[in-house]
Amino acid sequence: MNLYREGYGSVKGIVGPLLLVSGVREAGFGERVLIETPDGLRTGQVLQVDGDLCAIQVFEGTMGLHSGGTTVWLERDIVRIPVGISLLGRVLDGRGRPVDGTPLAFVEKTIPVNGLPLNPVARTSPNAFVETGISTIDLMNTLVRGQKLPIFSGAGLPANRLAAQIVRQASVPGKETSFVVVFAAIGITAREAGYFLDDFEKTGALNNGVFFINLASDSAVERLLTPRMALSVAEYFAFEKGYDVLVVMTDMLHYCEALREISAAREEVPGRRGFPGYMYSDLASLYERAGCVHGCAGSITQIPIITMPDDDMTHPVVDLSGYITEGQIVLDRNLHDRGIYPPVNVLPSLSRLMNKGIGKGRTVPEHRAMADQLYAAYARARELERLKLIVGEEGLSPLEHRYIRFGSAFERQFVNQGESRRDLLASLEESWKSLAVLPVSELYRLPDDLVSSRMARGKDD
């Protein structure tokens, strides 16, 4: 690679995280550069070429960068990451370098971090039920292997705790091996990163995963690289080595803010809230790197975490993520304030691939019907809560009172499971318990025979 090295000295400008150099011959779009400065080396990537002028994003940031005495070396290659089985158990920084300084024991090859789009014809529909042990997910918003299902959180809501719990508990029933975890910390605090690593350590996930850590204090530009590296590693393990990979990326809001920073430095026309107009495509190039492939044992399941600024689900980062991912688990401040954990609000939550992974032969035959029944009843309960504010307690019929009682049983018992792991049958049991408040005639989503046999059993107890 050194063969191609050519140095350039004329720095034209430094704008935010961008370095502008002129006099570059045959610059390549997206290629990597080495930036030699009086006080050390930095790395960057060519963002735009216009004649002999290049815009370079500097991964370490431009703080302290000299406009004179700086030489840019073209590396004549795109950005890559070394991969090999020996990555398992390693903690890397946001640019893929081992944090402890020990190089990888065995590198099989280096692969581009951008990846390539999966051919839709090569995909197979994700359809294996993943038991996360969390009732609101397993029973009502089922995660399937190969799905991308983000957690929409708010500042201070326990998204990290929930993600760590899912990593700890997730399993595909009937499969011996557990998930390989690829974790990408993107601009989170050292405390948050510490929380995850501790938890992974305790549960043993640390030996069976690869961990990329870009902290809030690290360069923002580096954040654009971190999830790409993580996903390239995930693709390597999933589609070349046949592992089921679970990718947790937190926090995509920070990723998008870095994207916005670069876009602003390039003086691009800003879109909603200053985020660039191509953010949808950019996010899609990450989230779409999930799925299952024909003739391939492995898979990539993604759980990105996205903080909703001001709990606003229409914020562009949240909104665009929702348009790309296959559903969302939404955390709710009101539930959290009432001490309910995990504070999942099931109404705005959704798993689009749920139907593929549930039902006869996969989970239980009544899975869909039970989810629909809970949704219908809980939506009604919430609506009646609002009506109660208008018409008062007395204004409600006895049936409506029962619905309100159902709503609170549902939140206090079914949702509020704490750290415990409930298997699907335990979750089903809980759902029957909360539905017991309602008269049988209201359980119209469930098959009659099931309801009557259940009621008969209830009487025997």
Partner: protein, 586 residues
């Protein structure tokens, strides 16, 4: 002769090439050492700006750019049905042979040249054939009769020789004219150019969808245009897929334009196993899938809708009713915006280029019900069904608004209905159709005069519900009469039993017109009976325990053949149980 320029600038999908020769706007180029396909989108001061249909990373200044002199076109011929193409017409199944990822620079023809087709001539020696007229036919799949027409961009000719019946490959001549021209099974057409037809026809035939709320309240006309806007997760894709499955078109062109890879896979896995309810052939046989997913190059996303439309026109010209769905127009508009941004164009509203509306109009204008070219002009149609994904679910944004102006049916998806799991989450208050009047005659013919009264009964009940709920908000429940309480209950039955339709239920996914009518009649009979009893002094609370909802849901799930009998029996039983309740004199 090819002309060669060289790369001088690269910004994402936009590459600038220095040229010292004239080039055409929208001319196809092969850019860089990997020969990536692109299209000229601006010519300015000795340079051409090119949108490249593939990822440009690694491309360098100084690499060659070869200008072809031709515009982006697609080869049209038998074999399109059942295939999956990317945004510029490359068959994904054949790209698949090179690996699970889509690499760059692959140059694979749309159609399979080696496949044989069973041609039968329909014209004879000495016949004069004009553009759009039939030379012969061949079966494409089990049902579609593929007509080999003289392409609309050819001159008329007199047949000197025509192939005898038999097996024939794509590029083999099927006919020779006296002037020496040879015609083959396929021809190329520039995708951005609409194909000509003889005349437009009125919107007086319905595109039946098998979806109760659509066919009953907001029907769409063959050749019309419908928009489905909605925030994420409100049901755009499910609705479009339901229509692709159950609508009465002959051919479906489904464009996954900047959406999920898994949704394409789903279509590919599911459609071959499902039967078209009208013709009883596997649904995949009437489908062409254009898949340019969100992670595939944006420039090809921009091109994908024109590719789809050209294919739709090709089958329309054979006299078929074609339905074309694009999911989603917003992603196409964003591709336009991204490319415009790279060219540093002056942005219009929300950063979209000022020509957004014009481009959109050019697309919608290619829809319609028409008479084809040629002396035996036949009826053909293209119905457009476009999903729109407004940021934040706010319909006031430019793509929704421009689409609204260009279409006749507006199926507005509603976030709060979706959250309550009321699917399809089509808001019956905001949605509308402009084809109501032009279709009325056809519906009356099919379903009798009664149909319009039944529709009215449904829509009036729903609007009464709205005013009653407003009343409750103001004065509480005390203001409601017994009849009002029943009306609220009836409209809830309508919502749950009639408007809601589960796309994933084998029976409920498709509802025939006969069953729609039957359900409405049953509900009306119920209403008449209950209202009478209420007049006699019955109190609503007295019969609120009768499981009307469960009974009606069961009725909805009965197969068409058993429906009339079941409905009659259920009504009788319900009346009996109502009759058993005695009026309590207060």
């Amino acid at each position: 002769m090819n002309k060669t320029g060289s790369v001088i600038g690269i910004s994402g999908p936009v590459v600038r090439a220095a040229i010292n020769f004239p080039v055409r706007m929208f001319e196809i180029v092969h850019a860089g050492r990997e020969s990536l396909l692109g299209e000229v989108i601006r010519i300015r001061s000795g340079a051409a700006d090119i949108q490249v249909y593939e990822e440009t990373s690694g491309m360098r200044v100084g690499e060659p750019v070869v200008f072809s002199g031709e515009l982006l076109s697609v080869e049209l011929g038998p074999g399109l049905l059942g295939s999956v193409l990317d945004g510029i017409g490359r068959p994904l199944a054949r790209l698949r042979e090179e690996g699970i990822y889509i690499g760059r620079g692959a140059n694979i023809g749309t159609l399979d040249e080696s496949r044989e087709w069973n041609f039968s001539p329909q014209a004879g020696l000495g016949d004069t054939i004009r553009p759009g007229e039939t030379l012969g036919t061949l079966p494409e799949g089990t049902r579609i009769l593929h007509k080999v027409l003289l392409p609309p961009n050819s001159l008329p000719g007199r047949i000197d020789w025509i192939a005898p019946p038999g097996e024939m490959k794509l590029r083999e001549p099927v006919c020779r004219f006296e002037d020496g021209r040879e015609i083959t099974l396929s021809h190329r057409w520039e995708v951005r150019r609409s194909r000509p037809f003889a005349s437009r026809l009125p919107f007086n035939r319905p595109l039946m969808t098998g979806q109760r709320i659509l066919d009953t309240l907001f029907p769409m006309a063959l050749g019309g245009a419908a928009v489905i806007p909605g925030g994420f997760g409100t049901g755009k894709t499910v609705t479009q897929q339901s229509l692709a499955k159950w609508c009465n078109a002959d051919v479906i062109v489904y464009i996954g334009c900047g959406e999920r890879g898994n949704e394409m896979t789903e279509v590919l896995e599911e459609f071959p196993t499902l039967m078209d309810p009208y013709h009883n052939i596997p649904l995949m046989e009437r489908m062409v899938l254009v898949a340019n997913t969100s992670n595939m190059p944006v420039a090809a996303r921009e091109a994908s809708i024109y590719l789809g439309m050209t294919i739709a026109e090709f089958y329309r010209d054979m006299g078929y009713a074609v339905a074309i769905m694009a999911d989603s127009t917003s992603r196409w508009a964003e591709a336009l915006r991204e490319i415009g941004g790279r060219l540093e164009e002056m942005p219009g509203e929300e950063g979209y280029p000022a020509y957004l509306g014009t481009r959109l109009a050019q697309y919608y204008e290619r829809a319609g019900r028409i008479t084809t070219l040629g002396k035996a002009g036949q009826e053909g149609s293209i119905s457009v069904i476009n999903a729109v994904s407004p940021p934040g679910g706010d319909f006031s944004e430019p793509v929704t608004q421009s689409s609204l102006r260009l279409s006749g049916t507006f199926w507005a998806l509603d976030k709060s209905l979706a959250q309550q799991r009321h699917f399809p989450a089509i808001n019956w208050q905001n949605s509308y159709t402009l084809y109501d009047e032009s279709l009325a005659g056809m519906f009356a013919e099919k379903l009798g005069e009664e149909w319009s009264r039944l529709r009215l009964f449904l829509s009036e009940t729903l609007s009464q519900e709205k005013s009653l709920l407003e009343l409750v908000q103001l004065v509480g429940r005390d203001g409601l009469s017994e009849q009002d309480k029943w009306t609220l209950n009836l409209s809830e039955l309508f919502r749950v039993v009639y408007l809601q339709q589960n796309a994933f239920d084998n029976i409920d996914a498709f509802c025939s017109l006969a069953k729609m009518k039957g359900l409405l009649e049953t509900l009306r009979a119920l209403d008449v009976f209950v209202s009478e009893r209420l007049k006699e002094g019955l109190i609503f609370e007295q019969f609120s325990e009768i499981p009307l909802r469960a009974g009606l849901l069961r009725l909805r799930g009965t197969p068409d053949t058993d429906f009339p009998e079941f409905a009659a029996r259920w009504l009788d039983e319900t009346k009996e149980s109502l009759d058993r309740i005695e009026v309590v004199v207060r």
